[in-house]
Every structure is written in C-alpha cells, then in structure tokens.
C-alpha cells in the first residue's frame, strides 16, 4: 500500500515532533552550559543571551573532569570486555546446545533486570566494603558487568541463533572443536552482532549512575558521579551543572552517532533480516 500525501505529512510531523521533544532537554542543557548563572535562572527563560565559556573552563579546572572521564572509559571498556568474555561461551552453549532449561535460564537471567537495583544495594555495598572494592575501578567494573550480563547474554544468544545450525554442524564434521568453532566460524559470522552488543554495553555502562553514585566517592568516580558533585550543598549551580553534563554526555553522544548503523541493527535484535 502506498501512503497518501496526507499520511506522509502526519508521519513527518509526528516523527519530527517526537524527535524534537526528546532532543529539547539535551539542547537546553547545552545552551544553559553557555549561560552565566544569572541568565540560567532568568524568568522567562532566555533563548538569546551572551554566551560564555567560563562554566566549561571552571568545570574542567575546578573538578577532576579528566580523571572522571578516564574512569568512565575504563569502567565502560572493562565491563564490556569482561562481560563479552563471560557471555560468549554461555550464549554459544545456549544457542547451539539447548536443553529443556535453556529458555527458563534465559528468562531468569533477564528477570534479574526487572528488580530495582536499590533492592540489592545493601548486600552489594557490604560485599564491596568487606572485600575492599568500594571506590575502586575493579569493584565498579565487576558490578556494572554483572548488571549488564543478562542483556549481553540475551543479545548474543539472539545473534548466535541467527547463524544456521547446519554451519556449526558442518564445522563439527570438518573437525572443529568448540574453541575452533567459536574462533573460525562463530566470531566472523556473528561479528556485527557482537559489535552491536559491545556498543550497547558501553553506552549502558557509561550512563549508569546508581552504582557509581553509591559505590564510589573520589578515586573511581566516573562522569555520572562527577556531574552529581555540581549539585552541591551550597546551592544548585545550573549553568555549571549543565556544562558538566554536556561534557559528560559529549563523548558517548559522538561515539553513538559514529556507530549508529551498528547500534540500530543491534537494537532491532535481528528482527529485520
């Protein structure tokens, strides 16, 4: 069926409307970052103002932006690499050697994501405290990895499932053991899927705030915790907070924009062949 011009117009307006609605807070945040503190709280809100850069220089020099950035990168990459290493054999086994518990196991793994994180805050905090992992990169990498693991396993499972079982069986007939199958057949074929999974994991870890706020103070604080330091007891500095937020989301925004093709494919979970 071909869409009529009116239908096209409606879809166009709805699409752009939704996009602008979602984009507006981000755009407003960026704009506020360039305002003085006075302009930032001006009522009615100012769209035209004298832009300044002092908020950004303040955030970079007064706070430990580069340290937090480094932590964010380290945690995101660490949690993602570790998660993939653990999830890949698991997803391989579940996709190609399923038994009657496989579906239940997958659902159970996903169900852990349905529980609010705060529900396990106390035990996780105590475990980290007793094992000396509070405010360490190792601790945060472990917790973030575990919290994303169900999604990584689930996504990889879906991508592996797309690979015809015959190909794996043919490689078994040809003499490939499990490791050779992973390395020579599975990895090249599921490469795009694994990349999408890695991207999603990086973004999820980057944006995660709950655990970073609760398990770090200064040493291992990533950007999410860094932003929070700008809502200080002495008052809310909207312009500086916006500048910090802009600096925090900028790297991942650029990263996401560069990799959007992979991401879209990953997020549609192979539904579109």
């Amino acid at each position: 069926m071909k869409a009529s011009p009116l239908q096209k117009l409606i879809v166009f307006v709805l699409g752009w409307g939704a996009a602008l609605l979602m984009f507006f807070p981000v755009a407003w945040m960026v704009l506020t970052g360039f305002k003085s503190e006075i302009d930032a709280v001006h009522s009615p809100p100012l769209l035209i103002f004298h832009p300044i850069l002092s908020n950004f220089t303040h955030v970079i020099h007064e706070g430990d932006y580069l340290g937090a950035l480094g932590n964010s990168v380290g945690i995101a990459l660490g949690a993602t690499v570790l998660g993939l290493l653990i999830a890949m054999p698991g997803a391989y086994a579940m996709a190609f050697f399923p038994n009657r518990w496989t579906k239940d196991l997958l659902l159970w793994m996903l169900s852990t994501k349905m529980m609010p994180a705060v529900g396990v805050l106390m035990p996780i905090y105590l475990i980290c405290q007793k094992s000396g992992l509070l405010d360490t990169l190792t601790g945060l990498v472990l917790v973030m990895m575990l919290s994303n693991l169900p999604i990584i396993v689930w996504m990889l499972y879906t991508f592996f499932k797309e690979i015809p079982g015959d190909i794996i069986e043919a490689s078994r007939m040809d003499g490939a053991g499990p490791l050779a199958q992973l390395r020579i057949v599975l990895l090249p074929l599921a490469g795009p899927g694994i990349a999408s999974t890695a991207l999603l994991s990086i973004i999820l870890t980057w944006n995660e705030a709950f655990w970073s706020l609760n398990l770090t103070s200064s040493n291992a604080a990533p950007l999410t915790a860094f932003i929070a330091t700008f809502s200080a007891p002495e008052g809310l500095f909207w312009a500086k907070l916006s500048a910090a937020s802009t600096l925090a989301v900028a790297p991942i925004l650029i990263f996401g924009w560069l990799t959007q093709r992979q991401l879209v494919r990953g997020l549609t979970f192979g539904a579109v062949k």
Binding site: D166, A170, M173, D174, L189
Partner: protein, 359 residues
C-alpha cells in the same frame, strides 16, 4: 573400504522414541538411499551415523569398529547438507580446504586436493568467490567438493537437492550418480523424493515412523512391495489400492469382489470372506473392449508422452490409469480396463503382501 553396520539402533528424545530399532548393513561402495515421508526418522538416522545426534541405544559399527561415542570428525565420514551449510565468510577454495586446514595438512597438499576436486565438479573458475555470489547449484557443488576433498570413508547426503529447482535437480542428480561411479565410495543418501531414490540407489531403505518398512533394489521394491506402505510410496503415479473381499476360491485362483462391486480374479488360494487390498500399477492397466473393470472417466491429464486418466469405479479412490498419449479417452465416457499380464499385488488385512505366482 567402508562397511557400516547398524545394530538395533535407537533414538529417543525423552520418552518419545523416533528411531525404533533399525538393523541394516551397508556394504562397501554401495549407494543406499533412505526414503520415507517427512518425520519418519530418516534424517535423524543419518545424523546419528554422522555423529551429530547421540545414539540412545544399539550399536553403530564402521568397518567393524563400534563408533557410538566417536566424535563426528573422527568417524571419517563427510556430510552434504540440504542447506549446503557453506561458511559464508570464506571463499570456495577455503570452504573446501577447511577440514584439511583443521587437520593440519600442509598448504601445498591442500591446494592440490582442492584443485582436483574443483576440476571434477567444474568449480575451477569459482575458487575465489564467496558463497553469496554463487547460484544454488554451484553452492551445492561446493558442498559436495568440501566432502570430496576430505577423501572420506563414506559420504552422507541429507536431502541435497531439495533446495534446487526442478531442472537443476535432475542435472545434479546425474552428477551425483556419476560421482559415485568415479569415486566408488560408500554413499548414504536421504530423500523424500522417490524418483531420486529409484534413480540413484543400489538399494533403497523405506522408512516409516522410525522403522524400516522394506530394504531392496529399486526394482524389487517396485515389483514386490512388502506391504501397503511401500506399495503406496514407491511408484509415480501411485499404485491403485482397492479394498476387496474374497468371495470364492477355486483351485489355485480366487475371485475378489472389489469396492464398488466389480469382480476380479487373482491367481492365489485365499480364504473366502477374507478382506484384502488389491494393488494395481497405473502403467499395468490397459483399455479393454468390454468386461473387466468399468469406470467413468473423471479427469484426463495429457502429458504429451503419455495420458493419465482417473476413472470412477465406485471405489473410495478413482482408478488411476496410465495410457499412451494417443489413447482415445474422453471426459465423462465409460471405459473398460483390463490388467496386462499378472502384475497385480495383493495385501492381507494387516497390509502385508500376499505372494502371487509370477511376481
């Protein structure tokens, strides 16, 4: 050399038994075709032989050695899959050399063996291509080439022609037959297509519901089906199977009353009152001036080289008759049919064949 022995082989998924005890010996250099309707277990049995499915019971022997627990690649068998199962990220040459590479065969020897196989299958010009850039027939040839390169003890084919179009299927079928003549290897071939079975096989194994119904050469199965299932499965168009009752026995002949009321004499001594099934091949029936079976023609199919007529003789199924292309058959006309020679089959109430003289 490769002889395969299947001794009371069984496969069960939980409580569901899909292979219910199969005994079969496949001789060296033999081309054996497993045939049967979908879901009869023929593919599962092939996969058990390959080592891709665990064996639940019984024994599998290759050249006299029990291989139940031996992993697939150590059994020395090569398999050609219905979906071709080529490695999409490797070119044709790498696909064919993959097993040799894993086995640590030096590159020079790998290349030489791939070149020989490629020549046999006319793949020389395609060695650098990826599977995505090949036609279905070419892909299937690469899959066969991948099997040949390994120089296996036996080849296993799992419905290898099902994804090809009709013309290519015939052509590839002939190539596989030639390949068997050239390589003189043991081959096991699974199909649901009885024409492939008839044309390729030294021996056909007919499966139904996880059991062997009959094993024999194509012509044995065609002329002497052991039971109703084989009778209905082998032959195209299908054998006419007509319910009948023995009304009279006289010396060495019996008179049958067919469904629909016609009488039919068979050269066998049967108990009067017994319920039997009469089997008549469409190609063994000819037109008669009068008498015999009478039926009104319901459908006529002109195929050019022959004419197939379907006539209502009062039985549950119309009588299928294969006639010459110039046979004077018109729709709606009542014709009389007679049997050429004694080529009828007879089955008892349990569906087992009753021996008739001359068959």
């Amino acid at each position: 050399m490769c002889t395969l022995e299947l001794k009371n082989l069984r496969k069960a998924y939980g409580n569901v038994e899909v292979i219910k005890g199969v005994d079969l010996t496949i001789n060296d250099r033999e081309f054996v075709v497993f045939v049967g309707p979908s879901g009869c277990g023929k593919s599962t049995l092939l996969r058990m032989i390959a080592g891709l499915e665990e064996i639940s019971g019984g024994e599998l022997l290759i050249d006299g050695v029990r291989v139940n627990q031996v992993p697939p690649d150590k059994r020395g068998l090569a398999m050609v899959f219905q979906s071709y199962a080529l490695y999409p990220h490797m070119n044709v040459a790498d696909n064919m050399a993959f097993a040799l590479r894993l086995a640590g065969v030096p590159k020079a020897e790998r290349d030489a063996r791939v070149a020989v196989a490629a020549k046999t299958l006319q793949l020389d010009a395609l060695l650098d291509r990826k599977p995505a850039n090949l036609s279905g027939g070419q892909r299937q040839r690469v899959a066969i080439g991948r099997a040949i390169v390994r120089q296996p003890k036996a080849f296993l084919f799992d419905e290898p022609l099902s994804n090809l179009d009709a013309a290519l299927r015939v052509q590839t079928r002939i190539e596989i037959a030639k390949l068997h003549n050239d390589l003189k290897s043991t081959m096991i071939y699974v199909t649901h297509d009885q024409i492939e079975a008839m044309t390729l096989a030294d021996r056909i194994v007919v499966f139904n519901a996880g059991r062997i119904e009959q094993v024999g050469t194509p012509l044995e199965l065609y002329h002497n089906p052991a039971n109703l299932f084989v009778a209905g499965f082998i032959g195209s168009p299908k054998m006419n199977l007509i319910g009948a009752e023995v009304v009279q026995t006289d010396g060495s002949a019996s008179m049958l009353k067919l469904e629909g009321g016609s009488g039919f004499a068979v050269p066998a001594r049967l108990a009067p009152g017994a319920k039997v099934t009469l089997g008549l091949r469409p190609e063994h029936i000819e037109l008669a001036p009068e008498g015999g079976l009478a039926g009104k023609v319901e459908v006529v199919e002109h195929l050019g080289n022959e004419t197939i007529a379907y006539a209502d003789i009062g039985a549950a199924q119309p009588l299928t008759v294969k006639l010459s292309s110039d046979a004077p058959v018109r729709l709606g006309e009542t014709l009389h049919f007679a049997l050429r020679g004694h080529a009828a089959s007879l089955f008892d109430e349990q569906g087992q064949a009753i021996a008739l003289p001359g068959t």
